[in-house]
């Protein structure tokens, strides 16, 4: 795979980030996450074609877990809570998108500073990974409902995957698989979490969890 397509994938990842920041519909966010997972599964392919069965395995695993399994769990969780209509971020959508842009600029600035051997697309990859992590964090902070936090978390995990792909090069793929399963586990827990929050308050609004105190 040429670096042109490589950067195209990373650009699309960033666009999905912005898309999620911009949309208020949880179902759409979940679909965008599925798309993002599929995009991520393409990233290890160059190594796979270069003859690395591990990379092939990683790609398939990413596709399964991030592209299919987790979005499905998420979408089911969203549907089950009947809260799939709209998100209300603390910051407005315009402000979130612009903040996301600032994060991206900062990530490009910082991404260039990661001191590791660079291939042509490494700068982009590092920056996109960082931006994705930060965007995920921002979404987690910015959303009221538990579903929003889960979405933010999944984006954050995707960012970690990109960054680890950028850094690893020799990192045992076992660790990456471990990350994948870690995420899967987290998704399950979150699914249950949404469910329980929903049942307790019939309304997955985290700001209402203050009631839990005392």
């Amino acid at each position: 795979m040429m670096s042109g397509e490589y950067s195209a994938i990373l650009v699309l990842v960033v666009i999905t980030n912005f898309y999620i920041l911009n949309t208020s519909r949880y179902i759409i966010s979940a679909r965008a996450i599925a798309l993002q997972g599929c995009l991520l599964s393409l990233l290890p392919l160059p190594d796979a074609f270069a003859g690395s069965p591990q990379a092939m395995f990683l790609s398939a695993g990413t596709l399964m877990v991030k592209g299919i399994l987790m979005p499905v769990i998420l979408i089911r969780a969203i549907r089950s809570t009947d809260e799939f209509r709209v998100a209300q971020p603390f910051l407005g959508h315009v402000a979130s998108v612009l903040l996301g842009f600032v994060i991206l600029v900062a990530a490009f600035w910082a991404g260039a500073a990661i001191p590791l051997p660079t291939r042509p697309h490494d700068v982009l990859m590092g920056a996109v990974g960082l931006a994705t992590i930060l965007t995920g964090m921002m979404i987690m902070v910015n959303r009221r409902k538990a579903v929003g936090q889960v979405i933010g978390f999944l984006i954050l995990e995707n960012g970690i995957l990109i960054l680890s792909l950028r850094i690893s090069r020799g990192l045992p793929f076992v660790i990456e698989m471990a990350i994948l399963f870690d995420v899967l586990l987290a998704a399950m827990i979150f699914g249950g979490f949404i469910q329980s929050v929903h049942e307790t308050f019939s309304h997955t609004d985290v700001s209402r969890m203050r009631k839990l105190k005392g």
Partner: protein, 495 residues
């Protein structure tokens, strides 16, 4: 029942003198009590008796008990207004003031309804509510609109795009429909009844026929009843589908708009096959209907319904699953359930607020006494909910029609019985669930076979105020959408 009132049923006739005449104070208290218990004012009108006296008659609907309560009182030239305690009476009281020159004291909104009284000012002469503030502006829309629609004047108090308040002034279409009907029934009065609201021909014609039949004690054959129900549902279907299409057009979503536009034609054509007129004119007549279905037609209708149903499903799915459409509909122009109850909304507008009101099941008449249609309610009260109610009702009406056409009652020569002369001194209240909601016709017959007092209430009469409420704190650019989601009748209001 603690109510000191005459209890009756939809379509039942009773002696007008049986209606209890209460003192104004008692009358007021009974109505307030009734509304407090969940009853609705379904009709409330005045009738002049003697030189300086007016009798006020109020019909309260008890939807849970499937009954109607009628009570009255006599007043001279003023009485204490109900409106401050019972907002749903506001338009009725203004109407009474205009028709009978009786002033409701303490009414907070005494403005003309139809500019029909000499005592009240001409169009443009009434001051509108005006919010203070230099940054606010007013937007005046109508009576001539950009689209080919009926006349009405809308006055918005806006800050930029946000509407603080909307005031609706109608009455440009006043034709005197009620006074035309205050004669003996004749072909001409049928034409008037069918023209009360041009898009609710069957509904109003049916209500008028029910009145005549009930006062003249005329029976209608089961087959005629069934055909009337078919016509009424076809009218509902064509209008609901037209509304869904218009909603799509208003949000600029063309595929569904075009689809629904074509499908509306399908139902108009079905109505034409049944009645010979795309709007269903000259079909419902006192004593029955004018045309029958021949043997092959039910099967043909069913096949056409099936085909249309499939298309509707796909168009509706497209509409309700496209995020850009949903984003426009959801949360727009919301009316709370409390507002709905206080203003006494009816029809799909009420059902979209989660209120299970439907004359077809609450006060069934004709064929609906035997085959039921489930009431479709959606919560939320926004444009989405009003669209959704229509979608569900379309599905259920088609289901009803398919079942109904499958086993139509056999009929013979009695498709149209003769109605006979009206009996004197009788009163009746006939409710019909038109596609917009509860149509109420109340009539009192006088001597020698004429109707002494005829009162028409189109569902729009209740619901216009809800449109004004829906616009509060809503962007003005969403007004056309909200307006379309209610799709109220100007003519039905103005009579």
């Amino acid at each position: 029942m603690t109510l000191d009132a005459l209890i009756t049923q939809n379509g039942a006739a009773f002696d007008a003198v049986d209606v209890p005449i209460l003192s104004p104070e008692q009358f007021r208290r009974e109505i307030l009590d009734g509304v407090e218990r969940g009853l609705r004012i379904t009709a409330y009108f005045g009738e002049r008796i003697g030189a300086a006296k007016t009798s006020l008659v109020c019909v309260l609907a008890d939807d849970a008990e499937n009954s109607l309560s009628v009570l009255s009182c006599a007043v001279r030239d003023r009485y204490r207004s109900l409106t401050p305690d019972c907002p749903q009476a506001h338009l009725f009281e203004r109407e009474i003031a205009e028709q009978c020159d009786v002033i409701p004291e303490g009414h907070p909104w005494m403005k003309p309804v139809r500019y029909q009284s000499v005592a009240l000012p001409i169009p443009g002469g009434t001051p509108f509510f005006s919010a203070e503030g230099e940054v606010l502006h007013e937007v005046a829309v109508g009576p001539v609109h950009a689209g080919i629609i009926e006349p009405g004047h809308f006055r918005f108090q806006c800050h930029g795009e946000n509407v603080l308040h909307l005031e609706i002034q109608l009455g440009y279409q006043h034709r005197g429909a009620e006074s035309f009907l205050e004669t003996a029934p004749s072909p001409r009065s049928m034409a008037v009844a069918e023209s009360v609201a041009g898009d609710t021909v069957i509904g109003h014609a049916l209500a008028y026929c029910n009145v005549v039949e009930s006062i003249s004690r005329c029976a209608v054959s089961p087959r005629a009843q069934a055909l009337r129900a078919v016509a009424l549902e076809l009218e509902r279907l064509s209008n609901h589908i037209g509304d869904l299409g218009a909603l799509c057009a208003d949000v600029g979503f063309l595929p569904s708009a075009a689809y629904f536009g074509r499908l509306r034609g399908e139902f108009l054509n079905l109505l034409m096959s049944l009645t010979g007129n795309r709007n269903g004119r000259s079909f419902v007549r006192p004593g029955g209907v004018t045309f029958d279905l021949n043997d092959s037609m039910p099967a043909d209708f069913q096949a056409r319904l099936k085909a249309a149903e499939y298309d509707i499903q796909s168009a509706a799915r497209l509409m309700f699953e496209t995020p850009s459409v949903l984003a426009r509909l959801e949360g727009t122009g919301a009316v709370s359930e409390r507002t709905c109850r206080e203003l006494g909304l009816v029809g799909p507008s009420a059902r979209s607020c989660g209120m299970p009101l439907d004359v077809r099941s609450d006060h069934p008449h004709g064929a609906y006494r035997f085959s039921h249609i489930p009431v479709s309610t959606v919560s939320g009260g926004d444009v989405y909910a009003r669209a959704m109610v229509r979608r569900i009702e379309v599905e259920r009406s088609i289901q009803f029609l398919e079942d109904h056409l499958h086993d139509m009652p056999e009929g013979g020569q009695d498709l149209r019985n003769s109605a006979g002369p009206l009996r004197s001194g009788r009163m009746t209240i006939c409710l019909v669930e038109g596609w917009r909601g509860e149509i109420a016709h109340v009539a009192v017959s006088g001597e020698s076979g004429v109707l002494r007092r005829y009162k028409i209430k189109d569902p729009s009469f209740h619901n216009w105020t809800a449109l004004a409420m829906a616009l509060r704190e809503t962007p003005i650019s969403d007004f056309p959408l909200c307006n379309k989601s209610f799709n109220l009748s100007y003519a039905g209001h103005d009579l």
